[in-house]
Amino acid sequence: MGFDNFTFVLQQRQFWVAVRNTLSIFLVSAVPQLIFAIVIAAVLDNNLRNKTFWRMSVLVPFVVMPVAVALIFGSMFGERYGLVNRTLAHVGIAPILWHTDPFASHVAIATMVNFRWTGYNALILLAGMQAIPRDLYESAAIDGAGRINRFFRITIPQLRPTLIFVIITATIGGLQIFDEPRLYDQNGLGGENQQWMTMTIYLYKLGWTQLNFGRAASVAWLLFVVIVAIGLVNLAITRRIASNEGPAN
């Protein structure tokens, strides 16, 4: 008694596949999302005309429900007739098996996540950028630092607290992913060979198709452990990156 459910779950091949998929989708979405968000924030951090309009334009995707995003992008990532593969064919690239191939399916799902969240995170980073004292840039400009130099030497290190906030929230949300993979095909169980079955889909499957709540709850605890572990790794990485690029420390 006691830990039977955990032992059972940890011995399942499907559980480890789910861990792999969850981490893979998370990495494939979080890394480009963060880079794009920083770039978008930097572009928005100009002395723009119609500021509010441009800021709103990056936030539109946020009001679309993930379920809807999944259905829209699902229709673009068809293997035979999808918009993406047809466009690739125009430039001479062979069709990508967006559903059959595990990694390709992760890319497709990550695209859905990024559509909805990149602009949102860009606005948070923009707020962080605007809080950076302008005289830091001025003195750097006087010393002859160019735009790119100022960005890497001042913006990124000064943005550290905001970056940590964005990364932590993206980690907590990203590892729980359910809606997009659930609607990526009609069965919703993560593909015939569990290509895109995430931990939360596995939890759902144990709890609500096999009606074993004990096992489902142990997957929930293991997911929590994964979230905490990845959160700590992220924190360590962010610390290092931000302080290495700092001007004087």
Partner: protein, 290 residues
């Protein structure tokens, strides 16, 4: 002399930073705008075609004329239950956001301005629960809902969402800095009860943050899928739940699925047109403080 030169240099540097951006920046922004809006256009393009549009290799980039026809197919589909889902989504999102605002402001007022034992510890506990994933509460919550006989009813979605840790944290932060202690004390000295002080002094002072919290909660509740999907069923769904049904029904006919997607998305798009500016400000404001 050096002072003068550095003054000139400084002004040049300032000018370089403050100058209006060029075409490149606006070009990038336009590209981002197109990327944000393209999926909507794509949905309309497919949603206004017919069952064969998606697989038509010579597909036109001009919308077809079948949107109303496809939308009617969504609305008239009995298992999708569109009107019921729309009504339910409106009820759930409105009740949940009103309640989150009320209780979070109440708790925020107590945490920010009250003096009671265990105050710090309790606030920390509330904030701590924000790090716990939804998944961890889903199994026990579902068993509780089954025991109460609430599964399949809106209560199962509304009641667990009546107050959120994020809301309490958000309002505590805001009230702590926006409401002067003197004002609360003045109210108390004038003989107002704690609740009257809350209602007439704290609530008006907290309005900007409360509006933001309400807007945010409304969007989060409207778009939420995981829990409603578990605890509700097709005969009494919210919009995301019925969109999932729509996909299971019409897996070949994307023109109907995407017409349904647009129907379900329009309400929040309309809200965004009116409240998008506040939403942007709220996200940016919360970020600086958070």
């Amino acid at each position: 002399m050096t002072v003068l030169i550095s003054g000139i240099r400084r002004r040049q540097a300032e000018a370089r930073i403050a100058q209006r951006p060029g075409l490149l920046v606006y070009g990038l922004l336009s590209a981002i705008l197109v990327a944000s809006l393209f999926p909507f256009y794509w949905s309309f393009l497919i949603g206004s075609g017919n069952g064969g549009t998606l697989s038509d290799t010579s597909m036109s980039w001009w919308p077809g004329g079948n949107f109303l026809h496809n939308a009617a197919a969504v609305i008239n589909n009995e298992s999708v239950n569109f009107w019921k889902a729309l009504t339910n989504s409106i009820i759930v999102s409105t009740v949940v956001s009103a309640s989150v605002v009320f209780f979070s402001t109440l708790a925020g007022f107590a945490f920010a301005k009250g003096r009671f034992s265990g105050q710090k510890g309790m606030l920390l506990f509330v904030i701590g629960t924000m790090c716990v994933p939804t998944q961890l509460s889903v199994v026990p919550l579902f068993i509780a809902m089954s025991t109460f006989g609430w599964t399949g009813t809106l209560g199962a979605v509304i009641i667990p969402g009546l107050v959120t840790a994020f809301g309490v944290f958000w309002m505590t932060q805001y009230i702590a800095q926006a409401l002067p202690d003197e004002l609360v004390e003045a109210g108390r000295i004038d003989g107002a009860s704690m609740f009257r002080t809350f209602w007439h002094i704290a609530l008006p002072a907290a309005r900007p943050a409360a509006a933001m919290l309400g807007l945010f909660t409304f969007i989060m509740t409207w778009t939420n899928f995981f829990w409603p999907f578990i605890v509700l069923n097709q005969s009494n769904p919210t919009l995301p739940v019925s969109l999932a049904t729509l996909q299971a029904n019409y897996f070949v006919d994307y023109s109907i699925v995407l017409a349904g997607v647009l129907l379900a998305t329009v309400p929040l798009l309309v809200l965004f047109v009116f409240a998008g500016k506040q939403l942007v400000e709220g996200i940016m404001h919360g970020a600086v403080k958070g």
